[in-house]
């Protein structure tokens, strides 16, 4: 079936206007970039609401909009766990407990915090793996965008990828992190206003929430599940066989809700960098909490369209809606959101929806590139290649790293196009490296006895444990290889998701225990840990009103998430 969309003058006008505004913001901000701190950290001048929306938007890459829509169709309301369990608690923890150390230590990056708290080898391990990972992640995002625009609009794969890459390069090269952050705020509103009509028109078409639940009940029964399996989030988490995701509640709560989400939201520099650019400690702590509000509502914007799409397929003929298939005949869930745009949006609104889609790709790409140029310059180039250069030299290097980051991302995109399996393996290796990371930070910030040898040994042990667990397990119906089982088969998981969650649990636990053991049998850290460890840092006395304090705002966010979980239980 052909899913090509036809654009008219108004669609092009909306798209071209967006590109012009994005470049214009970069040009306006160029004059403000005078030091390397301006370029890498926005001179720490961002208001809390700007840093907060950028914090949220940097995570709104292709995986978010396209991937969550696909998961909404594939798994239903259970996908909301990626937000209500897998994001909000970690964002609150970052704001209340971790941001004082990141911001207060004056570290310019997350790897630099590791150097201040532990030692050079721990920083080097994190900086190098993070740099390679951001480039690969950006390349995969570029490849997905080129493929999608080629499929939907018939645009040339190379041309669409290069145009978006050059626009992102231009506005970051000109305005550094400030330009990326301000554009992420514009992209945030564009994504909201571009996808909201899709939800409203879809719900209107299917008969509101009641009609959607009825449609999803048919979907669930047709696939051998209980009628509510697609429309409820916790009720069917008792066993792996009773929900479409194939995950039980403990694996979900510990694997996603603790290890993976805290590892991502609390230690991924791409995200944390936005809060570190805030104008004050108070603003830096409020940024993740401001982001938490739209984040908890985003399932209704990106997951519900996928749920509507799968429910609509139950009444083919009336609505004329069909999910596109892959070459092997199975539904291509990744095309759910784009096909829904074509199904509901007339020209005009279609231009807005597609611009929002492109904006989501670009904000993800810009997030990766700004994180890469900062970590490369501050954590690799400065300590290992050219130590005592002038500030102007590091500013120049930041701009050079921006060009290099974009070119390396494009190279990674072409590598994905040629060797899909190589990229699968690389992503798997980085998943092993990332999984234990939060244990290192948790012990580093809250246990003063943790030392550099312990942290480094813990990271290595955690990575090794993740690899061994993956090598000894396999998801059901998967082939031995990149999906697991390459060391032998000890356990079969009902789904790949369950295997991922448990791999993370094993990695985190191994890192946690190894860090404690090695720290206890080696010398304690000799340097001053004030501002780096909870027990050694003076308490922050804020002058804010009680209702603006991070602990109060965080408690309100957690309460709101609990209510959402109960409403969609």
């Amino acid at each position: 079936m052909n899913h090509t969309l036809h654009l008219t003058v108004i669609d092009w006008a909306i798209m071209v206007l967006y590109f012009l505004f994005v470049l214009g913001i970069g040009l306006i901000l160029k004059r403000r970039i005078k030091t390397s701190s301006d370029f890498f950290l926005s001179g720490r001048s961002m208001p809390a609401w700007v840093a907060g929306l950028a914090f949220m938007s940097a995570n709104l890459g292709a995986q978010e909009v396209i991937g969550m829509g696909a998961s909404g169709a594939k798994y239903g309301m259970i996908t909301s766990h990626f937000y209500w369990v897998g994001a909000i608690p970690a964002m609150v923890f970052l704001a209340v407990f971790m941001m004082p150390f990141y911001y207060g230590s004056k570290a310019r990056s997350v790897p630099e915090y590791l150097r201040l708290r532990f030692d050079e080898k721990t920083r080097g391990f994190n900086a190098i793996s993070f740099s390679i990972m951001t480039v690969i992640s950006s390349g995969i995002s570029m490849y997905a965008m080129g493929l999608l625009l080629n499929m939907l609009l018939g645009w040339n794969f190379n041309v669409s990828m290069w145009i978006c890459a050059i626009i992102v390069l231009a506005y970051i090269f000109l305005g550094g992190l400030s330009s990326a952050i301000y554009n992420e705020v514009l992209q945030f509103f564009l994504i909201v206003f571009g996808f909201l009509p899709l939800v409203l028109l879809g719900l209107h078409d299917i008969g509101g929430w009641t009609g959607l639940r009825a449609g999803l009940a048919h979907v669930a029964v047709a696939r051998g599940f209980a009628p509510g399996a697609w429309s409820e989030s916790w009720r069917f988490m008792g066993s792996t066989a009773s929900n479409p995701m194939g995950v039980e509640w403990f694996g979900m709560a510990m694997g996603l809700g603790f290890v993976l989400s805290f590892g991502y939201w609390c230690t991924d520099f791409l995200i944390v960098q936005r809060a570190m650019a805030a104008e004050s400690m108070s603003a830096a702590r409020r940024a993740p909490l401001i982001a938490a509000l739209p984040k908890m509502l985003f399932p209704f914007l990106v997951i519900v369209p996928g749920m509507i799409a799968i429910a609509l397929t139950q009444r083919t003929g009336v609505s004329g809606f069909v999910l596109p298939n892959k070459l092997d005949g199975t539904p291509n869930f990744d095309l759910v959101i784009p096909v829904m745009l074509g199904h509901y949006f007339p020209n005009g609104l279609l231009g807005l929806g597609l611009t929002a889609l492109i904006a989501s790709f670009m904000s993800g790409m810009a997030g990766n590139v700004t994180a890469f140029n900062t970590v490369w310059t501050n954590d690799i180039y400065q300590p290992y290649i050219k130590r005592d250069a002038s500030d102007a030299h590091y500013l120049w290097m930041g701009r050079f790293a921006t060009i290099a980051g974009i070119l390396l991302s494009l190279a990674a995109a072409y590598l994905v196009a040629q060797f899909n399996n190589i990229m699968d393996v690389l992503q798997l290796v980085f998943a092993f490296i990332n999984a234990p990371l939060f244990a290192t930070f948790l012990l580093g910030m809250f246990w003063k006895r943790a030392n550099g040898h312990g942290a480094f040994a813990g990271l290595l042990m955690g990575t090794l444990a993740a690899a061994v667990h993956h090598g000894l397990t396999l998801p059901a119906h998967a082939m031995v290889g990149v999906k697991g089982g390459w060391l032998g088969l000890v356990h079969l998981y009902p789904s790949e998701m369950a295997q991922n969650f448990w791999t993370a649990i094993f990695a985190w636990t191994s890192c946690f225990l190894a860090t404690i053991v090695v720290s206890l049998i080696s010398r304690p850290m000799a340097h001053d840990l004030s501002g780096l460890v909870y027990s050694e840092t003076p308490k922050i006395n804020t002058q804010e009103s009680w209702y603006l304090r991070p602990a109060v705002l965080g408690a309100a966010a957690i309460l709101a998430v609990v209510i959402l979980n109960i409403l969609f239980w």
Binding site: I25, I28, L29, Y182, L186, F193, P346, G348, L349, L352
Partner: protein, 64 residues
């Protein structure tokens, strides 16, 4: 004065909202969503204007 991102956001959404309204009339979701975007864009510009006004007032009071 510091760069205020609400200004370009307000202008962009007012512009594309206007385009959608015109297209909705002569090209009704375009018309209605265009109105929503114009209201949002206008609200953003109003925030900038009130921020600029209060900034100007503060300066005048300080001078006085």
């Amino acid at each position: 004065m510091a760069f205020d991102i609400r200004m370009p956001i307000g202008i962009y959404f007012t512009l594309i909202g206007g385009l959608l309204i015109v297209y909705g009339l002569v090209g009704n979701v375009n018309l209605w969503w265009g109105l929503v975007l114009v209201v949002f864009g206008g609200f953003m510009l109003l925030l900038v204007r009130s921020a600029a006004l209060s900034h100007m007032l503060r300066k005048l009071i300080r001078k006085g």
